[in-house]
Symmetry: C2
Subunit: 191 residues, 2 copies
Amino acid sequence: MRALFRYINQYTTVSEEDFQVIKRYFIHEKLKKKQCLLREGEICRYVAFILKGAMRQYYVDEKGVEHVINLFVENWWAGDRESFVMATPSIYLVDAWEDCDVLLISRENVLKLRRQFTAFSELLLKLDERNAIATQRRLTYSISFSAELRYKSFVDNYPYFVARFPQHIIASYLGITKDTLSRLRKKLAGD
Amino acid sequence: MRALFRYINQYTTVSEEDFQVIKRYFIHEKLKKKQCLLREGEICRYVAFILKGAMRQYYVDEKGVEHVINLFVENWWAGDRESFVMATPSIYLVDAWEDCDVLLISRENVLKLRRQFTAFSELLLKLDERNAIATQRRLTYSISFSAELRYKSFVDNYPYFVARFPQHIIASYLGITKDTLSRLRKKLAGD
DNA sequence: CGCGGGTTTGATGATGCTCAAGCCCGGTGG
DNA sequence: CCACCGGGCTTGAGCATCATCAAACCCGCG
């Protein structure tokens, strides 16, 4: 719980008393490796603030191939935004890649907190800004960079992902196959 | 101006009187075709609400090739979010593809409106939600779909872009070359 | 008529995918 | 202590997709 308090206060200012109220809107839960927070076709009822562990969001195409859309570790929010906000069935799965400790919050509780604490609205605005910036960058890379450049910038920007997820997942996140990534790394090693 | 009023009231509720205040924070301006709202290396001081016209955001790589990142038409916001929020030099250009009527607003004025009208914070939160959803979808397509599927879903989702931007721009937006798009269309026509 | 911007087309080549096989390594159970 | 198994990584051969470059074409406009 303390991690959430520290996290919020990175972006805005929330008193100890307010936090005592805020924290009641969250449910503490544990997820075992491979356990799902969200399955394909379900509605995303909760987003998870990760206290410990690593998760991923991916979608499975007609051929059964997994495409990793997002990776999450400590102090990130996991879930499917579209399904969460619109209350529509998700096309994604979200599951634990490592055993996790998470804090769940429902859409209704998010709305309540927004109304009750302006600082919470502030927080959400800032998170959205950061998220918009990061996603836009990723899109730019995805559209205009080669696989090699994408991988290099990934390693530079997210070394902690490289350390915690296997190559075939990182490859999928970058939009390439594990085979291509393997060859790419071999080539880059020869420098 | 009326368009902005209607636009805001699609997402939240703002009285006529409040709007009279809000609108003073915007600057009405006209842009000629090819005129820049933002040049590479500049800081994005204003975002533009488009009353009339079409714009694009793109970045130019070392080889001088343009990569279109976003397209905008009436009732969209044009600018570079990253540069606008962080006040850092932008890697993108934003210019008018058609002659435009726009309403400009500065970062300071956005912040003032946020403080002054909770409805404005509401609005921004909702816009960010929608934006996050759309960008995430686009990223999913970009990572996991073939050029053909990306183009098909583009035509389905954004017919008004297809009508107003030439093919080489749409190709760039989709992350392919104009040549490939041309061949693709030829193939799809034979059905 | 000529020009500029946009599109098409062909030939060629690079990039990344597919599929299958083999390897490595840590964990489990006999 | 060894055998086996599963998950992950590597590698090779062949192939599909898409990029590159150059040429030609089309058409609206001054």
